[in-house]
């Protein structure tokens, strides 16, 4: 399940939904707002999300992960709005019988979410400037998805 939220992400609550008596492994990833990017001191971040397509594209990514790896449950939640340093911007959680699938699916989901969902981040710097993040070198983690439109043009943040 893919969800966009405007309030704080609570991993400990999200984790509950992935529990399963058949699950032997649980892998999770969180993207945190850090105080520096590309040599600039970051004060806070602003996420703009086009929710209808962020959700449908996120659901597609999760479905792809479930098809590629034997997972039991997989979810992703992404924040929208203004975030401070240290806050959680995105959470991915995957449970599976064995750890390999949980790790691989978790990594797949975060890599794809970053390059495919209509989400943009504007960095506000300590010097008063701000800017939309859109660096070319960040597409290096994109996977090849034969069914995805525009796969060659995917560009994303570099966290």
């Amino acid at each position: 399940m893919m969800r966009i939220t405007h309030s704080a992400i609570r991993p400990e609550e999200l984790r509950e939904a992935l529990q399963d008596p058949a699950a032997g492994g649980y892998a999770s990833f969180e993207g945190w707002i850090r105080n520096e990017n590309d040599g600039h001191d970051v004060l806070r971040l602003e996420y703009e999300v086009y929710e209808p397509l962020a959700v449908t594209e996120g659901e597609k990514v999760i479905a792809e992960a479930c098809a590629k790896f034997p997972v039991l449950h997989a979810q992703c939640v992404h924040r929208a709005g203004l975030l401070e340093i240290g806050e959680c911007a995105v959470w991915v959680g995957v449970s599976s019988a064995h750890r390999d699938a949980a790790f691989l699916a978790c990594r797949y989901i975060i890599d794809e979410v970053k390059v495919r969902l209509p989400i943009w981040k504007k960095e506000h710097y300590t010097d008063g400037h701000s800017g939309w993040v859109s660096c070319e070198r960040c597409a290096r983690h994109a996977h090849k998805i034969s069914t995805a439109p525009l796969q060659g043009s995917a560009i994303a943040g570099d966290r």
Binding site: E48, P118, W120, L150, A156
Partner: protein, 81 residues
């Protein structure tokens, strides 16, 4: 040949164009034509290869045909996570 299209801009595109949505009449066969013509109109320089497009809330290809009445969503380079 002219089509009436609703175009929506996001993030940096919205700030650059100074508006989030506009209705335009264009001689455009594909999403690529829409992008090219509006980029010229708004003086933007973002390479098309870094951007994405959706038509009527479905992710689309730059070669996707546009039809009269379509809503075109122009996405600058995304940066989730």
């Amino acid at each position: 040949m002219s089509k009436t299209l609703t175009v929506r801009y996001f993030a940096g595109f919205r700030e650059h164009a100074g508006l989030g949505e506009e209705t335009v009449s264009l001689n455009a066969a594909t999403a690529r034509d829409v992008f090219d013509q509006l980029q010229t109109r708004h003086g933007s320089a973002e390479p098309l290869a870094h951007c994405k497009v959706a038509i009527n809330d479905e992710m689309a290809d730059w070669n996707s045909p546009v039809r009269d009445g379509d809503t075109i969503l122009l996405f600058p380079p995304v940066a989730g996570g």
